[in-house]
């Protein structure tokens, strides 16, 4: 799935400067920012190269860079959206940045979701907690050209109601008649006015029992959720080759040099982050 892109740039570690044009809090400690390129050439390059599924290194000078996915879809490439949880040095600095502040972005790197291969198929998106952003990128890529796909089902769960991210978009999806949204929170995480399901994602998924026929599943979530969801998908009759996921590993360079993101022989930064479940199952589980 890797597309070789020769980037004619002297210093491959030089990031683009981005302006924060919008930001809002999704959940406690989780924030979404919309970034715009300051340099038109950087933006042109981004538009040319960015495809849904790719990731980038977001940074604040003086603190460093941090890797997360581009949460906006390829159909909306005028800006970059990213969603992150404030946890380390870089994400804290990003969280402290205000609208109008400048941050850096290096990328987009990695491979992509082969969305044109999904044409004409039913889509099942499964996501947990803070892992909705990568899925959201695919969801919008597909919803923006809704007519090309069959049935769209989104299963999303979080620990508590407060931890659900993209609440506005969840509402929007819920209202849409061409999207089937299944929301759930872990037992104990529901609020008094919670109208949706309560239960772990794999269980809820099995209850919803989407048909595996002509269906592509995209799952993203914490390792433990992925593990059990894959089992559920198998039970439902999904073929591993039709299940896509994205892997996240610590990265520094993003371009296959710094040597830390590999799982077994697979460099996540270059051969990933998008893999099919079949590809993941061939990786050494102990290295994940």
């Amino acid at each position: 799935m890797t597309e070789n892109i020769q980037i004619a740039q002297q210093n491959i570690y030089k990031p683009a400067i981005m302006k924060i044009v919008d930001r809002h809090d999704e959940a406690p400690g989780v924030r979404t920012m919309r970034l715009e390129f300051q340099n038109p050439a950087d933006h042109e390059l981004f538009k040319k190269t960015f495809r849904t599924g790719m990731f980038g290194l977001y940074g604040v000078y003086g603190e460093g860079e941090s890797t997360f996915c581009v949460a906006s879809p390829e159909t909306r490439n005028e800006y970059i959206e990213c969603t992150f949880r404030q946890s380390g040095r870089v994400t804290s600095a990003l969280a402290n940045a205000d609208i109008g502040d400048l941050v850096t972005f290096r990328g987009p790197y990695g491979n992509r979701f082969p969305i044109e291969e999904f044409h004409g198929k039913n889509l099942l998106f499964i996501s947990g907690g803070i892992a909705l952003p990568p899925t959201r990128s695919v969801i919008w890529s597909c919803l923006d050209q809704r007519e090309k796909f069959g049935k769209v089902t989104i299963v999303y769960g979080a620990r508590t109601v407060a931890d659900l991210v993209y609440k506005h978009e969840l509402e929007e999806w819920e209202k849409r008649t061409d999207v089937d949204l299944v929301l759930t929170v872990d037992p104990g995480g529901e609020s008094p006015d919670w109208k949706h399901r309560v239960g772990f994602v794999p269980t809820v998924l099995e209850e919803a029992a989407p048909s595996p026929d002509n269906c592509i599943a995209v799952i993203c979530g914490p390792p433990i959720m992925i593990k059990f969801t894959l089992i559920s998908l198998k039970k439902l009759g999904f073929d591993e080759a039709n299940v896509y996921t994205t892997l996240e590993n610590r990265m520094k360079c993003g371009v296959g040099k710094c040597g830390r993101c590999n799982v077994g022989s697979v460099y996540v930064c270059k051969e990933g982050p998008v893999f099919t479940a079949a590809e993941v199952s061939r990786m050494p589980a102990a290295d994940l």
Binding site: Y61, G62, E65, S87, V255, K257, G259, G264, K270
Partner: protein
């Protein structure tokens, strides 16, 4: 008939190269360690040591180097590129394993994205390898299917002649020929034979090891735990390795100005792969040692068709607890 460079002419050569604008670098014995460093005259060289303590890698990929400088002003950020120090240089007296190490890492720094910090230095350096006539207990190039007179990564190969009188010159590349054209007046035609290269015994069966490593069943073999039990998790093996290339990116400075640096990093540190969440894919020392071996002999060749090891033996030579690639691969051979 080949040409000979006599050692008593070395001084003239160094002067000549220097006056032609080439920095001359060679193996030097310093008070505490030996390494490849700048020389000003022929007597600065030390060709006596089997292998300098520190590898040639650091002249191309220094332990710390600035990548860019940032200046933050109101509503504006300036990013200024650093380019590696420019200037041609000749590395006279590289060991075959060290020179091979450079060629091994070329594809890594060049796949898709080209790391100019590496390639600029590569393009501006002439590597003159001297074939080894001595080896120690840790040398293992032959086990890696390389030779003490391997021409890999070299622009010129020199073969020592008897009594340290000089070297037979074999020019291999245009870059090498160009550098030696500068000193052609000091080269003499001769039929003197070269000393035989040292015989380095083969220590393990590389093919058998690679086959074992490639078998997915062995990934979780208890062998890894046993062999790495005494590993203390320092980075002396990776940092002295001529092919280990992992690095970290760090910012130094403050919110107004500063610098972004590329620093050596090592797979033997727990923090190397630690996620912010606290999850660590390689959380044990055995997993990290397995990664090092697998990376060198399974993953790297899988990508670039060459083992990421040139057999210098520094990892074993310097290990505080006497571990190393040799021991591990020997053990795998004997499984």
């Amino acid at each position: 008939m080949t040409r000979i460079l006599f050692s008593d002419k070395l001084d003239n050569c160094v002067a000549k190269w220097r006056s032609a604008g080439l920095a001359v670098i060679g193996p030097v014995q310093e008070e505490a360690i030996s390494r490849y460093a700048a020389v000003e005259k022929g007597t600065d060289f030390d060709f006596g040591t089997v292998l300098p303590d520190r590898s040639l890698k650091e002249l191309f990929f220094p332990q710390t180097e600035p990548m860019l400088r940032y200046t933050i002003k109101k509503n504006e950020i300036d990013t200024a590129d650093f380019t590696p120090p420019q200037g041609k240089r000749i590395i006279f007296g590289a060991r075959a394993c060290d020179a091979s190490g450079l060629e091994i890492d070329d594809p890594l720094f060049g796949w898709d994205y080209k790391d100019e910090f590496w390639f600029q230095r590569r393009n501006e350096s002439v590597i003159v390898t001297i074939a080894c006539t001595k080896a120690d207990d840790f040398c293992m190039c032959t086990s890696l299917k390389l030779e003490p007179d391997s021409t890999k990564g070299a622009d010129v190969l020199l073969r020592p002649i008897d009594k340290n009188k000089g070297w037979l010159v074999e020019e291999l590349t245009d870059r090498g020929r160009e550098a030696f054209a500068l000193i052609s007046e000091y080269l003499q035609e001769s039929s003197e034979p070269a000393l035989p290269t040292v015989v380095v015994p083969e220590k393990f069966n590389l093919d058998a090891c690679v086959t074992w490593l490639k078998n997915p069943e062995n990934f979780e073999s208890k062998f890894w735990k046993e062999i790495s039990m005494r590993c203390i998790g320092c980075a002396s093996c990776t940092y002295l390795c001529p092919t280990c290339h992992c690095f970290d990116i760090q910012d130094e400075g403050d919110t107004y100005s500063g610098i972004r640096r590329k620093n050596w990093d090592s797979c033997s540190f727990a923090l190397f792969t630690m996620h912010t969440s606290g999850h660590n894919p390689r959380s044990t020392q055995s997993a990290r040692w397995r990664q090092r071996i697998m990376h060198k002999f399974n993953y790297f060749p899988g990508k670039f068709t060459v083992n990421s090891c040139s057999g210098c033996g520094r990892c074993s030579r310097q290990c505080p607890v006497d571990m190393g690639i040799t021991e591990t691969l020997q053990a795998i051979s004997n499984l």
